[in-house]
Symmetry: C2
Amino acid sequence: MAKTDPPNDVPRRATLKEVAKAAGVSLASASYAINGAGSVGEATREHILKVAAQLGYRPNQSAKAMKTGRTGAIGLIVPDLTNPFFPSLAQVVIQAARAAGYSVFLTDTEGSPEAEQQAVSLMVDHGVDGVIWFPIADDGPVGRLIEGVPTVVLDRNLPGYDVIQADYADGGRLAAEHLIAAGHTNIGVISGPHAASSARQRAEGAIATVREKANLTWHVNNAFSLDLEPAVAAALETRTATAVIAGADLIAIGAMRHIRSMGLVVPDDVSVIGFDDIPWAQLHTPALTTIDMPVEDMAAAAVETLVRRITNRSEPRRRVVFNVELVARESVTGPKS
Amino acid sequence: MAKTDPPNDVPRRATLKEVAKAAGVSLASASYAINGAGSVGEATREHILKVAAQLGYRPNQSAKAMKTGRTGAIGLIVPDLTNPFFPSLAQVVIQAARAAGYSVFLTDTEGSPEAEQQAVSLMVDHGVDGVIWFPIADDGPVGRLIEGVPTVVLDRNLPGYDVIQADYADGGRLAAEHLIAAGHTNIGVISGPHAASSARQRAEGAIATVREKANLTWHVNNAFSLDLEPAVAAALETRTATAVIAGADLIAIGAMRHIRSMGLVVPDDVSVIGFDDIPWAQLHTPALTTIDMPVEDMAAAAVETLVRRITNRSEPRRRVVFNVELVARESVTGPKS
DNA sequence: CCTAGACCATGAAAGGTTTCACGTGCTGAG
DNA sequence: CTCAGCACGTGAAACCTTTCATGGTCTAGG
């Protein structure tokens, strides 16, 4: 009876040593040839490359990582994949990373700081060269863990990190102006959780402008997603506002559903404006007027910044703020006369 | 002038050797203590653990991987993150994987076989313990690359792999029955690209049933997403069908938009039924009747199967088929009398 | 009191790669 | 003709861990 011989269904990948031997050169030369570094004669290099290809050589990344300290992986940490904004972001990040030769660990923190903590730690332990982090809240214990790993922070201005943001305050302003220009004077604001600076900025931008040029009928915060907080529902039900600015498209959509369930119609009875321009926004009926930010550019900038920092840790910190713009659709009209 | 001293802004993580030295034990003992393997006295183990914690020791995964051949990472390959079906899937996979101690490399193949090829190869090179793969088409060159890496295939029945599927044919049947029960006799079918067996199954299930109990007015395939193929638009414009079965919710939504742009209303003029039950389906106006499959269960099953195969490569192949169900909403009514 | 084992602990090899420091042999300038 | 220097190659160390084989100490049974 043969004892368990090496399973031949799992063809071990060729090692560099084997390539070197097969090519009749030293390990060092093989390495140099393949990495294009060192000094190898043109003829030898080609020969080695040919042999390597023949053997189907693929470098063992773990070993490589051990020597170089580079894993070729980056992490992307987002709060909630269920919010369509994030897949859009992830898609571009993955694509850009791939172009730069990196693979992407994706993790979803489920909106919970504990999960965020755990996720990040798993990721960092795993050995990533850098992290793109879209924090749930402004800060928290996670910041410490990431210490030592190049990190670019999306959407929030965390001191000490590279930061990619959009000009939310201006977005809030734009939204308010748009409504005011349409003739609204009684405007309500629903904002996201104020633990997040982004939500604050959006709200503050809107509120400041509304206060200045119209009436801020009410302001509720801490709305999170499609399911409306009771406070939000209550505010909506006062029917005192003819227009609503929501801190996110998801919130806006939730609000519109609620409004409809009250027997009112958007935009005839109440105008609604959102934030993010998620893909559904234009698919919704009525199509949602919203504030659009250049996700693609932001994602690309994030990757680019991260790669830059990975390759040169002493880069000066960067903070890039992208402009937002209003995209007018059907969910806003003038107030009922 | 000091020559560039070791950068102290990047605190090198403690190595196991350092822990061992600090604890006054051998490297081996430290390793055993931390991994809970080998034989270490209770007292020593605790001491080592304490020292390790103090030093903030985190094992170097690359080194570990090199010895053990396990990277603790799995890959998830999906066609298109923009289709909300996939983020839902990804979310559960990531979560389940995390629970099992794995991190997830996510990659989006942009619906293109070349990108798929490149993505997979990058991933495999990177060293993943296994792959969950949602193929674009039924087969192709990628299959070869994955050879040697444990793989579970989602949605398509690829021979030789572990497979997780939903019973699409039955879904098609369900959709057709539903329409017929509502009184429709002229039914059109729009299906996805027939290169994908899933699309074929959906269509075949629907068509068989329609043929049997009503009239198949027309059938166009190769629809892909929101943007309708000209052929699809043309079919819709014949206005010969009072109900349409679409091979995916995204297709259904695209169709509804087109129908509306023709001045017709869903469901009064045309009933529409989709496939997938993506989150938008219920948010859409009118809410979309669709075939729901248990994404969470499928994702969890995929991870579980993969982990099983990783830890025991000689597991028998599995093929799990999940039941689908129809969720009735607003986009279907009886035909106009 | 002796010895077999149990129990702990350790040294050292191995795993695949990069890279430093060095050694050849040749070219071309003086 | 000599020798500096270049181009090309190589041996070996180092990266951090796991794990095998081995050795020492102590206990308990005979």
